[in-house]
């Protein structure tokens, strides 16, 4: 996400920390791992959808970052640089892990009558999202629903709507066409709406 906003340049403390890392300072390595593991775990967790793979990806990310310390040029924050490496490590794991048979998403998409009208009558949700999402239990519910989406759709939704990569970046990351990204994102959002609706619509309707 930071990639778009013109990331702020590294703080002086980032630069000196990286200098210590380059010098092989054990304490500096421990400080970096302790400081950033939680954030990176959150990133890889949402891309991979399970804890075990997410932890492996964090490990991959740190090792890859430590191997490429020479490439940290101070043009971005250390946190931004590590975030990007963690996204790539998670995507790499996603590509290499044994593919589960793809689940269908059709049953979560809108159903239409022969004349093209919706079969379902949609009733309003009780609260706008910015209000309902102030509650931690609702945020946890939405995360569970996102995790319930088939991999192919979850990853596109996470990369586009949460990591805020653009269509082309997402297409490159997943090795699919921009058009496939758009189709999958639209379907993923529609499926997520179906999963959220029973929880968010007003009780009386």
């Amino acid at each position: 996400m930071q990639a778009h906003a013109g990331p702020p340049a590294a703080h002086g403390e980032d630069v000196s920390l990286v200098t210590r890392l380059r010098g092989g300072d054990d304490e500096a390595f421990e400080l970096v791992v302790r400081t950033y593991s939680g954030r990176l775990l959150a990133v890889t967790r949402r891309i991979l959808g399970n804890d075990e793979d997410a932890r492996d990806a964090v490990q991959d990310a740190f090792l890859s970052a430590f191997r490429s310390l020479d490439r940290f040029e101070g043009g971005s924050l250390l946190s931004t640089w590590l975030h990007r490496i963690a996204v790539n490590a998670a995507l790499m794991r996603l590509r290499t892990r044994r593919r589960k048979p793809e689940e269908s998403i059709e049953h979560l998409l809108p159903v239409y009558k022969d004349d093209g009208h919706h079969q379902e009558r949609f009733s309003s949700w009780t609260e706008p999202a910015d209000v309902s999402m102030t509650r931690a239990e609702n945020r946890a519910l939405v995360r569970r629903c996102i995790d319930a989406l088939p991999d192919t759709y979850r990853t596109v939704l996470v990369l586009r709507d949460i990591e805020e990569l653009d269509t082309e970046e997402t297409a490159r990351a997943l090795g699919i066409s921009g058009n496939a990204v758009k189709i999958r994102l639209h379907r993923a959002r529609q499926a997520l709406r179906t999963l959220l609706a029973p929880h968010f619509r007003s009780a009386q309707s």
Partner: protein
């Protein structure tokens, strides 16, 4: 425009990428079809909820990291 066609255009509409010749019938359908009006509102809420589920300021606090993960990373570096 049918509700099915309307739904197909939602993402481009929200991204401001719907060409003018599709935008006019889209907005006409939106003003006349209460069900699609509601569907569009829910679609927008879904995108917003997805983003906030992870990016809400209270979620910025990193998750607890298992101590063995930190150990494993530091050991693997050696």
């Amino acid at each position: 425009m049918t509700c099915r066609e309307f739904a197909d255009f939602i993402m481009d509409y929200l991204a401001g990428e719907l060409p003018a010749d599709a935008r006019e019938p889209f907005e006409r359908h939106l003003s006349r079809c209460h069900n699609c009006h509601e569907y569009l509102a829910q679609y927008k809420s879904t995108v917003e909820a997805g983003r906030l589920a992870f990016q809400h300021p209270e979620e910025e606090v990193p998750a607890d990291v298992p101590a063995d993960l930190i150990k494993a990373v530091l050991a693997a570096r050696k």
